[in-house]
Symmetry: C2
């Protein structure tokens, strides 16, 4: 299922949420990765996988219960989106 | 070609060097990733791709000239190995 509103794509079984973030340069990518690490530290939630190069970061989230995507995962995804939006 | 001495595997065309690093917990993984970011900052060399979860980091290095693996790439790989070995 595509979630067109947020850009996170639910796929697989057990389900995962996937999204690709693109950046203009390595500095922006680095800032996002650092913020993401701090967020994981704060929430105790960790993406299943993070795959990055100098100008992109692909993030895969798995379900906390291993079976169903729920509010916790959607909320975590939304907080990641907020990081990519920058410090405002 | 497998390079059994270092654990880095040369593969593909154009060639890349690939190695998987495994860690006992997320804290160790995080320390390695932070050290890797600092190393990239210092040398100006960036892996083509870094793919990680809570307890592993897969690193792919590409050739600086896009064609041939040389001393620069081998030296960078060796410095990454040293990071994984820890601060001593």
């Amino acid at each position: 299922m595509d979630d067109n509103q947020t850009g996170w794509r639910e796929q697989g079984k057990p389900p995962t949420l996937f999204k690709r973030f693109a950046f203009g340069n390595y500095g922006q990518t680095r800032d996002f990765l650092d913020a993401l690490a701090a967020l994981a530290e704060e929430t105790g939630q960790h993406p299943q996988n993070i795959n990055f190069g100098t100008t992109y970061v692909n993030i895969t989230l798995d379900a906390e219960d291993g079976k169903t995507m729920g509010e916790a995962e959607r909320a975590f995804a939304a907080r990641i989106d907020a990081l990519a939006a920058g410090p405002g």
